[in-house]
Subunit: 238 residues, 2 copies
DNA sequence: GAGTGGTCTAGACCACTTC
DNA sequence: AAGTGGTCTAGACCACTCT
């Protein structure tokens, strides 16, 4: 493990465990350098990770302090901003995630998909349409387009489980980032039917573009979630 | 302007303007060091900002590449993850943001507020309840609790405009971060009335805790937005 | 003025990819 | 083997806060 990760983990544990309490001032960077026997840049990097994560704040000229977070907030913070697919994101605890494939075919990318995935006209994409279930309860309707050359050998059986698993473990591709947009709408007839809600019930819409570490977009997806199985979190820092 | 910001800005401009095109390989860090007459750490820092922003990706052993982003996606990226209050967030273009104050009083923090703001029992908070309008159209219902000692001198006139403006410009406080949680619900009678929608219409709920650079939570707010005036974006990176 | 965190350097060495 | 980005150092100097 890298040195800055060790320092980050160590300090984070001390915050989570309560050894460093809310609003408490951390040791000065200089002293942390001594304590961890390392250089300033490395300590700074470790602390900056904690700032990004929302656990501490730094003030030049004053020092570094644990944020005034409630215990619940601390617990939540340690779980957000993880780059997971639907399966991993909802498999926490004993949840069972399954899928029903409504459509799986190859077609030419339409205008929207071409634009979102930055494809050339005439490019072919897998067209995937699934209902996702959590513990056998319908949770989301997921439409996705994936360029065929990025995901060779995709089969129906992969759709019934986790596409991300296939992409990562079997194809050995590295997912680097995802851009997400959240909006809200009324359920139409189709959404109502598959999600087992009433027409006009509220639906959370997550539009997502997923990128590989090659820089290429691998997926444009629109996920329509039932209100009772949707939540998204984010931390914004200056 | 700091050196790493200059390099970041320069490269970003070249991406936005199209001088560096999608999937193009950037010069090696070594060459960028020469070009900007600086050290490796500084170049790395500038590039890491672009990675966080979602514009480029780096692969050890291979190089640095512009992400395969569509032009629209590039435009969107440059606008997200900004730490703004409702007023600033919705004042883009010629939008006019106004408010109607439904309630403004001081009370003891209830269980939830105490927990979210990490307050001691018996602490007093401003209780604020407003309808927010964009171009005179109701857009959101906002309930907020703010510790009285954090926001001295808050008056009704501030609520009718921007609280953030008062906090930042008049009190000189620095907002450091915000933790947001998004969910979805059906409009109840009260929400329907104030937002001018039908009962059971979809509503986006944003729950937010805002922190000062002192580490103290200054606001716990719940914003109920009309579906047609809500959108939230986020970028997740490995 | 003393002390904090922030920026930057010049260079060593490491981990990984590609040839 | 050569070349990429990643980590880390030891220290200089800067910007800001507090007294």
């Amino acid at each position: 493990m890298k040195k800055y990760e060790e320092i980050y983990t160590d300090i984070k544990n001390k915050i989570v465990s309560g050894e460093y309490t809310a609003t408490e001032q951390l040791p000065f960077e200089k002293d942390l350098c001594d304590a961890y026997n390392t250089s300033k840049m490395t300590v700074k990097r470790a602390l900056d990770l904690l700032v990004d994560e929302g656990l501490i704040i730094k003030r030049r000229g004053s020092g570094t302090f644990v944020k005034d977070l409630s215990q619940k907030e601390i617990e939540r913070i340690t779980q957000i901003n993880q780059l997971n697919g639907f399966t991993a994101a909802h498999s926490k605890g004993d949840n069972k995630v399954t899928s029903k494939v409504l459509a799986f075919d190859v077609r030419q990318a339409d205008e929207t998909v071409m634009d979102k995935l930055n494809l050339k006209p005439g490019s072919f994409v897998y067209n995937i349409y699934r209902v996702r279930y959590i513990n056998d309860k319908p949770a989301a309707l997921e439409k996705a387009a994936m360029p065929i050359e990025s995901v060779p050998g995709l089969e129906k059986k992969h759709l019934e489980n986790s596409i991300y698993h296939y992409v990562k473990k079997e194809l050995g591709l590295n997912i680097q980032s995802a851009h997400r947009l959240f909006t809200v709408k009324k359920a139409d007839d189709e959404e109502a039917r598959y999600l087992n809600v009433d027409r006009n019930d509220p639906i959370a819409v997550t539009e997502q573009i997923t990128y590989l570490d090659t820089g290429h977009a691998i997926e444009y997806g629109v996920t329509k979630s039932r209100a009772d199985s949707f939540a998204a979190e984010t931390i914004i820092s200056n």
